[in-house]
Amino acid sequence: MEIEEMLENLFKRMEEVPDYEKFFQCIQCGVCGGSCPYSTGTVFTPRRMVLAIRAGIVNEVIESFSHWLCSSCFTCSLRCPSRVPITDAVIPALRELSLLQGNPPEELASALISIARYGNPFKKSPRKRDDWTKEVEFEVPLMAKKKSAEVMFLTGCYGAYHSRCRKITKSLAKIMHMIGTDFAILGNEERCIGDLARLNGEFGLFEELAEKNIRTFSKYSFSKIVTHDAHAYNALIREYTKFGFGKEVLHHTQFLHKNLERLKEMFNSLDYTVTYHDSCYVGRRNGIYEEPREVIRSIPKLKFVEMKRNRENALCCGGGSGIWLDSVIKERVKYRPAESRVKEAFSVGADILVTACPLDVPMFEDALKVTDLEGKLEIMDISELVLNAIEG
């Protein structure tokens, strides 16, 4: 692809993102590069990417691989004084150029092909999406049978297929069942929501998924969606609205908070010290900071401590759009944010690091193994902590 064609494609794609024109207001201050968890391993920090695009040498950015060393943590975008949409516009548009050239990292290509073919990135059968329901002791209602429910519970791909994340899904389903929520799942009709495909520049696939999912949603009657998948939540409230979707969506931290009075009646005391990790697409991207903290603090006897980097300054787990790029990033950057994060949680005296995004849990549990913290620190999703408090 010639440079002119690359630039034309890049700007055409960036123009679709709200506030795209702020790209031209970049003052080259470098706050983005200073905030990036991977800046030490990249030739082109976001500031330099903007400069290279302005200078018409976008091909050098693509060849440098720098655009793949981004976990879409949103820190640069939030801290940028000019509000340049780096995470939503610049990086995905650069990545799309690599996709159009046909040579994205292999691990990512395989995940994207699997999403297109099977509706999940794991190359798993769509017919097995609801297999987790066989592992709970009550019948999880299906939308196809029930037709109507107050809450449609979206599990997301990790929540449905990933062995560790399925435990989170089961915990949340169990809580809903215990507090009498009128809910149902899409089961095998659910497909990947697609936020990570979008952040990786696969816009065509994202559109296809959004259209398909919205068509499936429209078959049933429900008043809100609840999901523990932070990226699904983000896409549903920010991107699916562009395709005509308008229902209320709650992240599970918000759902638990809304039901806190009922939950408090069921809570037993827990003798733990816990800290809370603000997942990027719960906290920094979508401003949900206090609801999970209030839920945690309301558990009797539980001691809550903050890590130094909290709320909008929380360190990314490295998952985000990078979970499929993990091995690629590791080849280039020795530093892994998840390892730094579990050490930080341990240093404040926590027994448990509580999170609210399914990607965090496996990322942090892997980090425990290489930091010698296994057995000293436990990783839990907030729904698992809440279920622990209910079950005592």
Partner: protein, 251 residues
């Protein structure tokens, strides 16, 4: 130079065949991975030589005729020039018979090189390429991992023990590709959709002839396993297990 690649469909092993009393949920078909590598290698050859025209022939049965379109769309998005959808009218699954039908179709179309995947998951014998070459009276080599052309065709193969070898053969020829010399290139969804909209697929129905020579004598089901079901309460079953183990001299 005209190059042709054959693209087959194979059952998708991600899906399991589900059989209940009321219905059989069919598995879906996906393009044969080795054939996708053959297409990729043809694209590499096209990039190297510039004057290559690439035809891709998708092979399907009437019940999978629509499913080949996506594979052909991918080929078009990567740079294939002409697409054919060949629908087989066949009585058996013999690769030799299919090779004969395809040979009749491909003959006299002026191809200098015909590529196929060396194998398919539903046909480990890898007989399609060789049989096709036999019917077309052309040389055949299988297991290619790189192709180059310099008056004659140079084919790189990986042999046992990490040894690789280069073979030379005259054109026209048939080659069975093991893998392309680079990973399969990625086709974004937008590009695929555009290619499928643009693509003109010529549909052809092929009668697959019966060929004598190799006859199927019989199908055999595996022998019934000697299974002994033990029933009763725990004590009874435990006693019976001890008895059985003694009988067969395990204890």
């Amino acid at each position: 130079m005209k190059v042709c690649v054959l693209l087959r469909l194979v059952p998708d092993l991600v899906e399991e065949l589900e059989i209940s009393e009321n219905e059989v949920v069919p598995f879906q078909y996906i393009p044969n991975e080795r054939d996708e590598h053959a297409i990729e290698e043809a694209i590499v050859l096209k990039e190297k030589l510039k004057d290559v025209t690439l035809d891709v022939v998708g092979i399907a049965d009437p019940d999978s005729a629509d499913e080949i379109d996506e594979g052909l769309g991918f080929a078009a998005a990567k740079g294939a020039d002409k697409l054919y959808k060949v629908i087989l009218n066949r009585q058996t699954f013999s690769r030799v018979e299919i090779a004969k039908a395809l040979a009749d179709f491909l003959n006299d179309r002026g191809y200098s090189l015909i590529l196929t995947g060396v194998q398919a998951i539903d046909s480990f014998a890898g007989s399609l390429g060789g049989a096709l070459a036999r019917f077309l009276n052309l040389p055949y080599i299988g297991g290619a991992v790189e192709l180059n052309l310099n008056e004659k065709l140079y084919v790189k193969k990986e042999l046992e023990g990490g040894i690789s070898a280069e073979y030379r053969l005259p054109l026209p020829a048939v080659v069975g590709v093991l893998s392309a010399e680079r990973p399969l290139s990625f086709v974004p969804f937008t590009k695929l959709r555009q290619a499928m909209k643009r693509a003109e697929i010529e549909e052809v129905e092929l009668e697959v002839p019966k060929i004598s020579g190799v006859e199927l004598v019989r199908y055999e089901t595996p022998p019934e396993p000697d299974v002994l079901m033990l029933e009763g309460d725990v004590e009874e079953v435990a006693d019976r297990i001890v008895e059985v183990l003694r009988d067969i001299s395990v204890i």
